[in-house]
Every structure is written in structure tokens, then in C-alpha cells.
């Protein structure tokens, strides 16, 4: 088990971005230094007796307190969360100000580069990072780690409209190319992210690709279908409601291939990153609709 820390930390900045998005920066050196790509945090809004549960948040970035730079993470002090206001928890988060205290349990879960994922990943010669909407938040750390080990990925990012294309500039130093898509055509390709992705896969049909994907269930399902069609392995970062993040409430379990009690795995503990072919997607869709 990886080391996790549960401490009260201080908000450094809560910067509003376009389309109802925010970038929350917390001063949390222990959590920031322990974080690995694809892991998440449970964020606790303190002092509220009506909103009890912590919120699961992908770890967007970790960085040093002052100067920017490459080797920053060894002395990382700041942990960042890119989020969109969608409900009560995120609305309360958006009201946080510099100096406020929040509870932070992190890092949690199995990220993208855990040992059991590497066997198949090692064989790839193209890495495709595929994000839908706020799913972008889970992909910056893996993009950076890949780049640092000499392998630049390609980013495919789809959102509803121009205002929801956030964070792209943060990816620029770490990816070889970026393809954008918006449903209303206000930026990049018109339509879903699967359009530019399908075109790329068709053009590079002979290459061995590995896909890392995060986004809404319908988007993930479409991406996985494409990956399967072209015979590429695909790692997905899953979302679900979570009660604890510690693996005890069993609230975030999703249906996977397996028998008996192994047919359900916890997004917080066995995930959030899974091989796509392990997940029973029909049931995942139903769950999201509910």
C-alpha cells in the first residue's frame, strides 16, 4: 500500500478559469511529494455539518512553492486540483479563499503506472492521452512523467465548447501534439474527441498504441470501442461517488469481469485506473444515468 496522509492544509489560491472551472492550489508538501500519476485525493470541506463526505478529486499537478522548473517535484509543496462546478460540493469548493483550511487525504488509489499495468504498456510505441471534459485533470501528471522518461504522448481533448477547453497550455511542454474537439465546434474539430482520435488511429494502424483515457462514461465507452477495434490496450481512469476513499464503505464499487465478490472492484482502491477490457461497460453506463 502506498503511503497516504490525512492532514489539514491551507488554500494558496483558488483561481477561476473559463466555463465554471477552477484551479485550486493547496500547500500540502507531504501529499504532493507522495503523489503518482493517476492517483487522487479526498478533499474535505471543514466546518460544515450538512455536507459531510469528502470529495474525490484527481490530482492535477504538483509543484514547488515558488520557482517553476523541471526538478520541482522533489521539493513539491503545492498540490493542485482542476475542477468544474457541478454540484453542491464543488460549488462550496469554488467559494474557498486563500488562507482557508481544508482536509486533504492523499494520495490514494492505483495510478497509471503501477507495476501490474506495465507489462502491456512497455510494448507501446505511441501513447495517446484521451480526455473528455474535466477528465483532463487526471492526465497532466502521466503526460509529464512520460515526457520525462523520453516518451511524449499525444493529447486528444474533447469538451462541450471553447470555454471548457482548460489546461491545454499546461500540457504543451510534455506532449508531442494536441488535438482538440468541441461539440459546438467553437474550438478544434466539431464533434466528439473520438473523431480526431479515430482519424489518428486509422492513419497509424500499424503502430502499437497505448491509450490512457479519462472522461464521462459515454466518451470512455466510445474510446474503448475504438481501442478495441484497432487492437490497442487502453487504461481508463474511472469516476464514481465515493464515501470514504479508503476502501471501506464499498460505495464506489464498479462491475468488472470476475466471479462472486470479485465481480465488483473499488474505484478508490483497486482503481481509479483499470484496464478497459476488465470493466463491464453496460453496467457502468446504467450507474451513471442513475
Amino acid at each position: 500500500m502506498t503511503m497516504m496522509y490525512d492532514t489539514t492544509v491551507v488554500v494558496r489560491e483558488n483561481r477561476p478559469l473559463s466555463g465554471g472551472h477552477f484551479l485550486l492550489s493547496l500547500h500540502a508538501p507531504r501529499q504532493a511529494q507522495a503523489a503518482r500519476p493517476g492517483q487522487f485525493a479526498m478533499l474535505h470541506l471543514l466546518g460544515r455539518s450538512d455536507v459531510l463526505l469528502r470529495r474525490p478529486m484527481s490530482i492535477y499537478d504538483v509543484k514547488a512553492a515558488a520557482p517553476k522548473g523541471r526538478g520541482a517535484r522533489k521539493s513539491a509543496e503545492i498540490i493542485q486540483f482542476l475542477y468544474k462546478v457541478v454540484g453542491r460540493g464543488t460549488r462550496l469548493m469554488s467559494e474557498l479563499k486563500a488562507g482557508d483550511a481544508v482536509g486533504l487525504l492523499a494520495p490514494l488509489g492505483h495510478g497509471f503506472f503501477e507495476e501490474e499495468y506495465l507489462d502491456r504498456a512497455r510494448q507501446a510505441d505511441k501513447i495517446l492521452l484521451v480526455a473528455g471534459g474535466i477528465g483532463i485533470a487526471a492526465l497532466l501528471l502521466p503526460a509529464r512523467q512520460l515526457a520525462e522518461s523520453g516518451l511524449r504522448g499525444r493529447l486528444f481533448f474533447g469538451a462541450r465548447s471553447r470555454a471548457e477547453i482548460v489546461g491545454v497550455q499546461d500540457f504543451r511542454p510534455w506532449v508531442a501534439a494536441t488535438a482538440l474537439a468541441t461539440e459546438d465546434g467553437t474550438r478544434g474539430h466539431r464533434g466528439f474527441v473520438t473523431r480526431p482520435l479515430a482519424a489518428y488511429l486509422e492513419k497509424n494502424a500499424k503502430k502499437k498504441c497505448l491509450l490512457l483515457a479519462c472522461g464521462p462514461m459515454a466518451m470512455l465507452q466510445a474510446v474503448v470501442k475504438l481501442a478495441t477495434q484497432y487492437g490497442h490496450p487502453c487504461l481508463v481512469s474511472m469516476e464514481n461517488r465515493m464515501g470514504c476513499g479508503l476502501g471501506v464503505c464499498l460505495g464506489c464499487s464498479i462491475h468488472v469481469l470476475g466471479k462472486g465478490h470479485e465481480a465488483y472492484q473499488r474505484v478508490c482502491t483497486e482503481g481509479p485506473v483499470f484496464w478497459a477490457d476488465k470493466i463491464i461497460w453496460e453496467d457502468a453506463r446504467v450507474a451513471e444515468a442513475g
Partner: protein, 374 residues
């Protein structure tokens, strides 16, 4: 693909390990200091033995004989013949099998751990969504997902055995035979201190009537379980009944050594955008601070109806909450939903109870049922 060989390079893997080692040392030192501090407070010396229960909740005079300024409140309680260092336990389904919290709190400080409900066979549970947050509470319909009795003994119990903390195993089934079978398997376990019978399951043979909502079924399953149980038997009552005293008496008559109350209140929530229920199971159990006043009322009523000890739970977050349950008649309390978002709740509650007792110059046992009703 050179870059893949060392996935942690560049992310400070060595730092993680070092921090981990340091934290462990700190934790161990703290734990040791705590043990020493505890033993100096009580009349036992050294590490208290899990098996040999000392005087229980009778008040030894040597404690009180210390000078008035140094009043040392006694938190320990004896329930069903089992000695507990303090009256604060973690509730079933909110604390896994204990180990999940080992990084976060000192488990040895807890009075007891009630582990996630165990059935004779493993269960896979309900489809998602299984939980939904409501005002000051949460709904859950997990569907009793668990590893089954045999794997619990092999994989989970060995760790729990290493703790000083009492281990209570929550047991459930869908027929009386299921309950009996689960207990028969668990009887082989070394390190279990008691069972807590979850009778909130529908009896599949009796047409899905919930055991805990029919006094006859309650009596039947408790009697059958008591007959085979090698360890003391607690029965966890459902609050979803018209008169809790009928069920408390039924369980007592059938041989229950103690009663835990309450389990969750059945509730539901609807997403009006999609006109669908928020839980795949449509209804679920409501827990958290929202249910505390109702749970407290039920503990109060049950405590006046039976002689066996009562363990109170339902929305406890603070020491004040816990003391309310004790005053209403509970000899011990369980912390549930709060474990999800504040894993140190039990520790804070224990400290808060200690402070209160010191201030009031009373032992915990003196507070049980001390509510003054004019």
C-alpha cells in the same frame, strides 16, 4: 520503451519510502508512549491482556483514593463478560477490517472494532450507484458485499488478532441456516471476542420479511445463533419498527447478551432531472448526524425495557453525542459514518469523554442511564 522500466523515477519514490519509514517510527513511538501513559493511569501494569478481564465496571476504591485534584476517570466497561478499555467502538461497515485505518490512527486506542458484516458465503453486493449524500447524512445500499466467513478467518482476522482492541464480528444471512452456518465457520476463529447479529436482512424463505421487523423471526434467529455461538452474542436492532421495546425484549428473551441500536433508517432520494432513484436499489439506509435524535430516542426506550447492556449508535460525531447516548442508557457507543470523512473521530470522542468525566468527577459507568427525567 526505456522510460517504462522505472515508473517511479522522477516522482521521488525514495522520498516516499523515507517519509513512510519516519512516519512509522513516529507512530510507534506515540503508540508506546500511549501504552505507558495508559498503564500508569490504571492499576494494571504493562500491556493489558486481552483475555484476562479485570474488575469490570465496579469501582475500585484505589482509583478514587488519589487526591481530589488528580481524579482519574475510568473509561473501561464490561459488556457480556468482555472487558473493554473504553466504551468507543467503530461500527460495522464503516471501518472495513481495521487494517484500512492502520496508517491513519492508532487502532489500539479504540475500545472495539466491529468488522464489516460477514456471511457464510462471499457476497458481491448491489450495482452502482450504492451511496448518495443527503443533508447531514448519507444513504447507502451496498448490498452486504463481503469476502465470506472462511476468507475472513484466513485473510482478515490475523491482523485484528495483533491488536489490543476487541474484535466483534458482525454476522448476517438470508435464512436462519445462513446465520448458523456463518457462526459455525467463525467459531473456529482465534481472536474474535463477540458476534454482532445483523437482523436487518430479509428472510428469503419467509417471503422476504426482514428478520428485524418481525418479533417472531427475531426470536427465532437469535435463539438459533445463540445456540451455536462460541462467543457472546450482541444483536443489532433495526430502527424501522413501530415499537423498539418489543424487539429488544424478543432478542433478550432469545438469549442475546447485549443489544446494539440502531442500524440505519430506510430512506430514499430521487434525481428529478432523470426521474430516477439516486440508488440502484431505490431505497437505502440513512446514517449520519441526521438520524441522531431518533437513534437516541430508541436507545432510551430500549434501555428501559431490557436488562442486557445496550450499545448505542446513530450519527455520533462528538464526545457530547456519545455522552448523550450513555446518559440515555448505553454502556458503550459505536462511531459509524464519521469514520468515512474523519477517521480520527473515535479517538477524539474517547478523549472528549475522558475530559468530560474528569470535569464531572465521574467514571463512565456512573454516567450510564444517568438521564434525569422529572
Amino acid at each position: 520503451m526505456r522510460g517504462w522500466r522505472k515508473p517511479d523515477k522522477g516522482l521521488g519514490a525514495s522520498i516516499v519510502l523515507r517519509v513512510k519509514a519516519e512516519t512509522k517510527q513516529v507512530c510507534n513511538r506515540k503508540a508506546r508512549e500511549k501504552v505507558m501513559e495508559d498503564s500508569s493511569k490504571t492499576r494494571r501494569s504493562g500491556k493489558p491482556s486481552k483475555r484476562s478481564a479485570p474488575g469490570g465496571n465496579t469501582h475500585a476504591s484505589d482509583q478514587v483514593s488519589a487526591s481530589a485534584d488528580e481524579f482519574v476517570p475510568r473509561l473501561e466497561v464490561t459488556i457480556a463478560g468482555i472487558h473493554f478499555e473504553n466504551p468507543v467502538w467503530t461500527a460495522s461497515g464503516t471501518f472495513g477490517y481495521g487494517k484500512e485505518f492502520a496508517h491513519l490512527i492508532d487502532l489500539n486506542q479504540l475500545g472495539g472494532i466491529v468488522v464489516k458484516g460477514i456471511s457464510a458465503e462471499p457476497m458481491e453486493g448491489n450495482p452502482a450507484p450504492r451511496i448518495y449524500e443527503t443533508d447531514s447524512g448519507m444513504l447507502n445500499a451496498i448490498g452486504l458485499q463481503n469476502v465470506g466467513a472462511q476468507r475472513f478467518l484466513e485473510e482478515k482476522l490475523p491482523f485484528l488478532r495483533t491488536l489490543r482492541t476487541r474484535c466483534i464480528v458482525n454476522v448476517f444471512g438470508f435464512s436462519t441456516d445462513d446465520y448458523v452456518r456463518a457462526i459455525e465457520i467463525l467459531n473456529e476463529g482465534d481472536g474474535i471476542d463477540a458476534y454482532e447479529l445483523n437482523i436487518s436482512c430479509p428472510n428469503t424463505r419467509a417471503g422476504g420479511i426482514v428478520y428485524g421487523s418481525d418479533p417472531k423471526l427475531t426470536e427465532e434467529v437469535v435463539a438459533a445463533a445463540k445456540k451455536v455461538a462460541r462467543f457472546p452474542l450482541l444483536v443489532k436492532l433495526s430502527p424501522n419498527v413501530t415499537d423498539i421495546t418489543v424487539f429488544a425484549r424478543a432478542a433478550e428473551a432469545a438469549g442475546a447478551d447485549a443489544l446494539s441500536l440502531v442500524n440505519t433508517f430506510v430512506g430514499m432520494a430521487i434525481d428529478i432531472e432523470t426521474a430516477r432513484p439516486r440508488l440502484s436499489n431505490v431505497t437505502g439506509g440513512l446514517s449520519g448526524p441526521a438520524i441522531k435524535p431518533m437513534a437516541l430516542r430508541l436507545v432510551y426506550q430500549a434501555a428501559r425495557a431490557v436488562k442486557v447492556p445496550i450499545i448505542g449508535l446513530g450519527g455520533i460525531v462528538t464526545a457530547e453525542d456519545a455522552i448523550e447516548f450513555v446518559m440515555a442508557g448505553a454502556q458503550a457507543v459505536q462511531i459509524g459514518t464519521a469514520n468515512f470523512y474523519a477517521p480520527d473521530t473515535s479517538i477524539r470522542v474517547i478523549e472528549g469523554i475522558r475530559d468530560y468525566c474528569r470535569r464531572k468527577r465521574r467514571h463512565v459507568a456512573d454516567l450510564v442511564g444517568s438521564l434525569k427525567v422529572a
